[in-house]
């Protein structure tokens, strides 16, 4: 173990970690280019490297992409990857308040905190945690998805009803194409082009980027730039001081991110959603969330960054990838004749701990790069709207097409973007629509598989048959109850005024 960890801090390893971090910085910051795609694109470059260095570079890219996806989320309200959706909720309002650099530094610090926590958990507890992940079956994933859905309460704006309806629209859009059983084409209207369904990444770009671009067009008479940014000294110190004063918030987000990251298939997106939701729930002054609260940025970013190294735990211990990038890394190992799982743990333990060490170090390198570059990144927001808007459209088209090399995804991206803009004018917040798009691929297959399992017993036995099910279901119910309870006074106020605010 120590030999493996020492190898992670060798100059060669640090160099490849830095290369991975730089590549991740570019990949994550470009909407549509996901960490999975980045890892896959970098795989050929690892063929000539020793396995440990190659893995270190791929892991570093994954960790850094989970940070840099927050850059467009913070600057133009467009998540670089789906995992940064909740980062935009508070990151973009911070930018509007002239605190773009604060948000970037907070995100970089969160990347480090999350990756270090997840990486250390990997080093210390890989074995026992890996076997816990196997306890999760379709009913548990269904309940996890339902638990994540309750975040609507934090992102629905003033109308919970419209939030729920928006999430239902997002989920319904994601059902277009072949059903999970693969037997039925749904909502295709006989068009073969629709059988492949809607890429949720392309759809997510549309839901967030296009309405934002249109809003910038309409606001340009008042604001020539998205937000003013003036370089201020001492921002890094100021942000660090503020964040270090919230140790419980940081630890809670890291524990949630790590816990969810270990579950195969849940990944960084759900980790960020749940972490954000819990940050809102535990906060005393939760009214600031969604309006530029730095805790919103850190909760989301620590959650998704802790999930990145944690998703490698089931891969390395059991051979079950915890996320899509982990699956690509599994493929890389297999190409080298290394079988991820118990055999790898038994025969190449040094390699595993070098990888775990590299993931941990990637968080630190990401923080260094992110902090040093933060003034430069924040200054990008001073680009005139007339230049920025076409570039957002240009990158959105590239991102939507690049996912599956399918022009239909670009049409979906544009169509959903225009639809979301119009719906936002009717008071439907884009957040729940995006949430529905993200969670549907988790909730529906889990529901269908659990229903299949219930044929052998009963629905109640499958969905509430284990203590784990009951715990997650109870948490989901508590979460729903909490949302309704916290919304009650606002509803009274709104009714009293006779007006209901809209987005």
């Amino acid at each position: 173990m120590l030999h493996g960890l020492a190898a992670a801090i060798s100059p060669e390893s640090l160099m490849w970690i830095s290369v991975g971090v730089l590549a991740g910085m570019v990949i994550g910051a470009l909407p549509g280019l996901t960490a999975t795609m980045g890892v896959a694109l970098l795989v050929p470059f690892t063929f000539d490297l020793p396995p440990a260095d190659g893995l270190a570079m791929l892991g570093a890219l994954y960790v850094c992409a989970m940070f840099s996806d927050s850059i467009p989320a913070v600057l133009v309200n467009t998540p670089g990857t789906p995992a940064a959706m909740t980062t935009a909720f508070d990151g973009f309002p911070m930018t509007k308040q002239g605190k773009a650099q604060h948000a970037i530094v907070a995100s970089a610090f969160s990347a480090m905190f999350g990756a270090v926590f997840g990486g250390l958990t990997f080093i210390a507890l890989a074995g026992p945690l890996g076997s816990v992940a196997l306890q999760f079956g379709p009913p548990e994933y269904f309940w996890i998805g339902i638990f994540a859905v309750t975040i609507i309460g934090s992102m629905a704006g003033d109308s919970l009803l419209k939030g729920v309806a928006g999430a239902a629209i997002g989920m319904l859009v994601s059902t277009i194409g072949l059903s999970p059983t693969g037997e039925v084409a749904r909502y295709t209207f006989g068009a073969p082009a629709l059988r492949g369904g809607v890429s949720y990444v392309a759809a997510l770009i549309g839901v967030f980027a296009i309405p934002q671009a249109i809003s910038m067009v309409t606001d340009r008479y008042r604001h020539n730039v998205v937000a003013e940014y003036h370089t201020k000294p001492g921002v890094i110190r100021e942000v660090l001081r503020e964040l270090i004063s919230k140790p419980f918030h940081l630890l809670r987000s890291a524990v949630i991110g790590t816990g969810i990251g270990i579950l195969p298939g849940a990944g960084s997106v759900v980790a960020a959603l749940v972490s954000y939701n819990e940050a809102v729930r535990w906060a005393r002054d939760r009214s600031k969330f969604g309006k530029g609260d730095i805790r919103g940025v850190t909760a989301s970013e620590i959650g998704n960054n802790a999930a990145a190294p944690a998703s490698m735990i089931p891969l390395m211990t059991l051979g079950v990838p915890g996320s899509a990038p982990a699956a690509v890394i599994a493929g890389t190992l297999l190409m080298r004749g290394l079988n991820p799982g118990p055999n790898l743990f038994a025969g190449h333990v040094a390699l595993i701990y070098t990888f775990a060490g590299a993931l941990t170090l990637s968080g630190i390198v990401t923080y260094i790069f992110g902090s040093v570059l933060s003034p430069l990144i924040a200054r990008m927001i001073s680009t005139p709207v007339k230049i920025l808007v076409p570039i957002v459209v240009f990158l959105s088209v590239i991102g939507a097409f690049a996912i599956r090399n399918n022009i239909v995804d670009v049409y979906w991206m544009l169509g959903l973007g225009i639809f979301t803009y119009l719906m936002s004018k009717l008071g439907f917040h884009p957040g729940p629509i995006g949430l529905g798009l993200i969670l549907a691929p988790i909730v529906e297959p889990a529901l269908v598989q659990a229903m299949d399992m219930s044929r052998a017993s009963s629905v109640a036995h499958v969905f509430l048959g284990s203590p784990l099910d009951i715990i997650i279901a109870a948490l989901s119910l508590l979460s729903v109850g909490w949302v309704l309870w916290t919304r009650r006074p606002q509803k009274k106020k709104s009714d009293g005024g006779g007006q209901e605010a809209s987005a």
Partner: protein, 178 residues
Amino acid sequence: MMRSTEEVKDTDEDRNKAAVPVSSAAKDFIGGIVLLAIAAVSFSQMGSKLADWIYPRILTYILVVGGAVLVIRSSVRFVLHRHGGQVDVAGFFRQRVVRDVLLFILGILVYVLLQRIIGFWVSSVLMLTGLPYFLSVKRTPKELVLELIIAILVCAVAYFIFAVFFLVPLPTGILFGV
């Protein structure tokens, strides 16, 4: 009922200022109709096999309930408070902001459709030149030349990153194939 005079006054002021002069009740009513329309389309396509349709069916019921509540609630508000019932449709489309939005959407639709004809990079240069020109407050030939130079630079950097370094495939056109 006592607050209606003040509210109507506020609503009128907001209507003059706002980009989209539609009241809260009218927004709810239109939103509800949209939800019901989506639900209707969903029902028209729905099959009978439980495993394939249970999930869309649940979502569609949510939309029906949500749409119905919004329509009924806003209708009650129209009747009881008599506010939000008047929507100036002609005035809405005469606004500069609305015209800008429509032209912008038209512009990006043309951009995407052009990619299939003249290719991604050529259409991107045109879009990256044309949209900034459209969005400019001062439209002068000098601005146009500057925007063309920026467009070419952006495309050159993007070409290097996507096509050369990451080998990401991009839409090809019939005429130029790039």
